[in-house]
Amino acid sequence: MIVNENKNAIIRLFHVHRRYGNKKALQDVTLDVLKNEFIFISGPSGAGKTTLLKLLYLEEKVNEGHVLVDGLNLSRIKKNGIPDLRRKFGIIFQDYKLISTKTVYENVSMVLEAIGQKRRQIPKKVRSVLRTVGMEDRMDSYPPTLSGGEQQRVAFARAVATDPKIILADEPTGNLDNDSAAIIMDLLIQFHTRGATIIIATHDMELIRKKGGRVVTLRDGRIQSISFQESPRKL
């Protein structure tokens, strides 16, 4: 049963368990993520960070417990309701997942077509979002010709093109140098200030220290601690 109503929470996890065979990926995880929060999910590799993110957009399902996203109980969502749930998210992956045979422009326009955006609005939207991430002048390039940082900016543009309420970033700076990582973090902050909820799974403590925010640390699938890292700008 779901108790403790929290009207400010956009995501709620109640005693969530997730197993893969005998391996317990998540155990008894209970967590609220507030609207417009900037939150880090931290922990070593294999702690359950990626699994936790996947549960939110139903790439994986819980074995026990409940997950609520923007008021929707995911246990009750039928298969044909999954696309509507996923439209609430913009997802950024460590390995970018760009389509190498499509141009930068096409990589972004593809998701707008996929969610049924009006065709005449697509070019304007794609240009606008590519301008935001500083990749407008590379829109005819193919991903393999871009640096890692540039590819992640395109992946970022693709994730935010649909104006999602929640941005999930799984190790977004894991493969990037410091300068590129800083650009990606700045973009995440920029979208946070525009109202999006940001959830970043990372084991990079330096990144957390630079930005600051609530930090949920997972270990062996359990929440080990929930702390608050002060932003250096406030120090």
């Binding site: 957009y57 790439e59 044909n80 999954i82 696309p83 509507d84 749930l85 996923r86 439209r87 998210f89 997802i91 997942k97 389509i99 045979t101 499509k102 593809m110 998701v111 077509e113 996929a114 969610i115 049924g116 065709r119 693709r158 649909t162």
Partner: protein, 294 residues
């Protein structure tokens, strides 16, 4: 819909080699099956023509009075499956034989007595319509006529007709088997092609699903792709068959087997192409169900 068609055509173009192999294989499959259908269609027509012309010869005993002959003719005429009856006297039969033997007719001139019997030539068929009797019906009619006491023997070319009929039945059976192979083949080929395309585009499809694309947005272009390729393959197969037919008829002339060969009707062509498209769609369905099951 325009977007879906555009995406389907782009996919066919982007996967040029796989698409070409698929279309060619479907074309060969359709060529094989439609050649057989063409053969069966024409053989069936010949069969009907021959059945239309089937005549039963009822050879009569020698000691029949004129009254009995008239009565027998009337009885045969009224029998079901008899279209017409003609009396062939033993003299007429001998004249026909002489005519057929041409240069050897002198052999017959030396005969002291005409050895041929009087006979009735019975033309089979429905009295009211143009329908022919099939082999089994002719067989039953002949047996019926043989029961008249004045009839010595009946003949209707039973041996060759029986043989041809059983060969035709065998071909028909093979036709069904080939149809089955075509169905399974088309589903398998298109299904595999779609599986290959899904594999090459798995990242793109995964992204589409993760951003919240509805299943129909992902599926429809694949279905269109399967339908277009299966339809195109079938069309090419039929065009090749038609070219072969035109070549055969123009080079050796229609009627070279004493029969006219007809090409498949437009309706048959449309049915073949539509079936191919349907099975292409089924192939897509099988592959997509596997891919989108979770």
């Amino acid at each position: 819909m325009t977007l879906y068609i555009k995406r389907a055509i782009n996919d066919i173009r982007d996967n040029g080699f796989v698409s070409s192999v698929t279309i060619i294989t479907i074309a060969l499959l359709v060529l094989m099956v439609s050649t057989f259908i063409l053969f069966l269609d024409n053989a069936g027509r010949i069969m009907v023509d021959w059945e239309k012309g089937i005549r039963i010869m009822a050879y009569l005993k020698s000691d029949i009075t004129d009254e009995a002959l008239d009565l027998l003719m009337k009885n045969i005429q009224e029998t079901d499956g008899v279209k017409d009856v003609r009396f062939v006297s033993k003299q007429q039969a001998l004249d026909i034989l002489k005519e057929q033997m041409h240069h050897q007719e002198s052999i017959l001139d030396n005969l002291e007595e005409n050895p041929l019997p009087d006979a009735f030539e019975i033309i089979t068929g429905s009295k009211s319509s143009d329908d022919a009797l099939n082999f089994k019906q002719v067989e039953a009619l002949a047996a019926n006529i043989k029961t008249f006491s004045e009839v010595e023997q009946v003949e209707y070319g039973q041996q060759w007709l029986e043989r041809f009929s059983s060969i035709f039945d065998l071909f028909r059976l093979i036709g069904f088997a080939m149809g089955g192979i075509f169905i399974v083949g088309a589903i398998f080929i298109i299904g595999n092609m779609i599986r290959l395309v899904i594999f090459t585009r798995r990242n793109e499809l995964q992204i589409m699903r993760l951003v919240g694309a509805y299943d129909r947005f992902i599926k429809i272009p694949f279905y269109l792709q399967g339908i277009i390729q299966a339809g195109l393959g079938a069309l090419i197969g039929i065009v090749i068959l038609y070219a072969g037919y035109v070549y055969l008829v123009s080079s050796v002339g229609n009627g070279f087997l004493m029969i006219d060969i007809y090409f498949l009707s437009l309706k048959a062509c449309v049915i073949i192409i539509a079936s191919s498209m349907l099975f292409g769609m089924l192939g897509c369905f099988v592959s997509l169900t596997q891919f989108l099951k979770d």
